[in-house]
Subunit: 413 residues, 2 copies
Amino acid sequence: MISVEEALETVLGHFDPLDAERRPILDALGQVLAEDVISSASIPPFDNSAMDGYAVQSGDVAGAGRDKPIELRVIADLAAGRVAGVSVGPGTAVRIMTGAPLPNGADAVVRFEDTDEASAPSTREGGRIGVMVPVVSGENVRYAGEDVRTGELVIPKGATVRPSEIGVLASLGRKDVLVHRRPKVAVLATGDELVEIDEPVSPGKIRNSNSYSVASLVARYGGVPVMLGIARDRIEELTAKLAEGLTTDLVITSGGVSVGDYDMVKNVLKAEGKIDFWQVRMKPGKPLAFGHIRGVPLLGLPGNPVSAMVSFEQFGRPAILKMLGKTKLAKPTVSATLTEDVENYSGRRHYIRAILEKRDGRYYAWTTGEQGSGILTSMAKANGLVVIPEDQKLVKAGTEVMVQMLDWSEEQA
Amino acid sequence: MISVEEALETVLGHFDPLDAERRPILDALGQVLAEDVISSASIPPFDNSAMDGYAVQSGDVAGAGRDKPIELRVIADLAAGRVAGVSVGPGTAVRIMTGAPLPNGADAVVRFEDTDEASAPSTREGGRIGVMVPVVSGENVRYAGEDVRTGELVIPKGATVRPSEIGVLASLGRKDVLVHRRPKVAVLATGDELVEIDEPVSPGKIRNSNSYSVASLVARYGGVPVMLGIARDRIEELTAKLAEGLTTDLVITSGGVSVGDYDMVKNVLKAEGKIDFWQVRMKPGKPLAFGHIRGVPLLGLPGNPVSAMVSFEQFGRPAILKMLGKTKLAKPTVSATLTEDVENYSGRRHYIRAILEKRDGRYYAWTTGEQGSGILTSMAKANGLVVIPEDQKLVKAGTEVMVQMLDWSEEQA
């Protein structure tokens, strides 16, 4: 039986970032840049005022003070979006709004609050303004190219497109951008015992929940789920359903990978393609198959609802992230203090559903109770998975353990 | 000028969770339950086998051992999804697959690995099987109702729908679920200096980036952005554009809230509705308006690209989360060691764009450099905002500071 690390290395070896597609910038949120974004212009494109105030020559107002304002003649009144038709010479000023281009001749802006404008409101064009605070050259001026210079690499290939990247792309005049496309992931449940969620449950049957938990995990990590429904435990039906999935980037099945007579996924994978492994030294999730059929990777999750989700987090998630072009593939973990004893006599790596709480800057973790792999509500109670190493049989309360975060519940809607 | 806390209290006082809508469970991912989910049946619905093996009476095999197998007569072979037509009596066993209903009379399951099946393959119905390991009553049995009992509150109102909740809903036979609907948020940029991102930039003009950064922030936190474009600095045009936004749950503008002559948003808000505040003791983001027009809240962000984003994180984000029905509204923060001196002579709370790195379990933070509020690329470089209190003028390198996380870059695709 191979280790989690060996299994992960095998899985990730079969995936690469997908081909690039051009998308409108708003639609690219969360995808990864497949091009270097180079600026074709400077931002801001011109020196402009950072404040509402008066554009002046700083030398004129060097001696200004609250008690001895220096008077300047106002020769123009400049709104944002307009260009001054005049130059600021000695003894003159242009009244200027935030964002308006700095007029020729001016080298600084005095804020409204630092003039007597409030007490002498008739200071528009043609009037006079008293400056009460000196400014140094460049004060309250935003220089052309201060944010971005022409030809500069602004956002490198490989960066994730977040709201700030979208803002930068917009400011560069980019309507669309080249990103790695999102993977299509086929989701197939297998088993004679399954009925669809809107069908009546006859004796011996249970509802297909795995397709829904797995499809939403796919979506959550940035893939596009393609629902293939349920395949019965017959070679022909499973083979046909899998064929439907071969137009996607990854096929994920649940069930049919254990040692039972009806564990068809393993058999079909062997017959139609290649099986890389079908058992991993972990709990839950020991029966876990990976292989490919006609070039399309297949991840065969166990049928137990909890095992399916836990195995997905270990193998499905990093595969999807790698196809998206992401490079940080490891599940985020924190260190937490265990508040109860935990046993692990399985000899396998044990992922224990747990509740994490942060108190005074430290994390504490305890189990959700009964860890049976059919107990799906335990996943709904959990916000983390405590990871107990293969060789640790008893972990005492008070020990620091590693916990994979299932969600940062305070983050993301 | 009011404090950030006072402003936030005023803003949040105007929002409540939105009305409920019924959605297919997969589409409800990330939304918040507006109903208690009560189980109408037990899960699993019947006692069933947790393993592939043999259903037995545990008393029969109490004395079993590897060297002295106890022989039982195999009276049936039971696949998952089928119901046994026979009862297990003393001296007999039913071969059983994982998930198949436990036959009457049996009280435990012996795993294949703990029998001599591998060495004596003809042990199907009618044959005999040697049990080599004893089992206790209940071993390898999943009992009816072990996961969920009929009538039990399974997921409470107010829970966020994650993949595990979707799995649980599916297992309960729920095709759809009642959740608070996502808020529609109108996004409007204002200013004579703005051109749309695909238009040429004539002298004195800049591109409208705020609509894109703000719309993607709205989407990121779970709202549905409605793009209203650009309103010029004329009362009539702004009034008309705002009227378009009044069918949404929140109107967010950028620009037009400062002290300049063309700061129309403030004026229209006063004339057409009510203004609650228009200045907050923060940096960037001091000019920040909040009010409402005909019952629709309006958040007037500053026009500077960085100020708009930082203010959105403080006020727009929690407003959206509250409308979604979330209760954790505070931005996630971590404590980090500052690796350089930082000054704050503004007397306002300063949000400094910063880069956070975790080393040996501790966070370290440093600034992205130049903090001018027009420097949007600094937001793209940052993954956090260092929060410097209003009254702290100089924070030395080595000090522990609070940092709002802009993203957990390792999480979420």
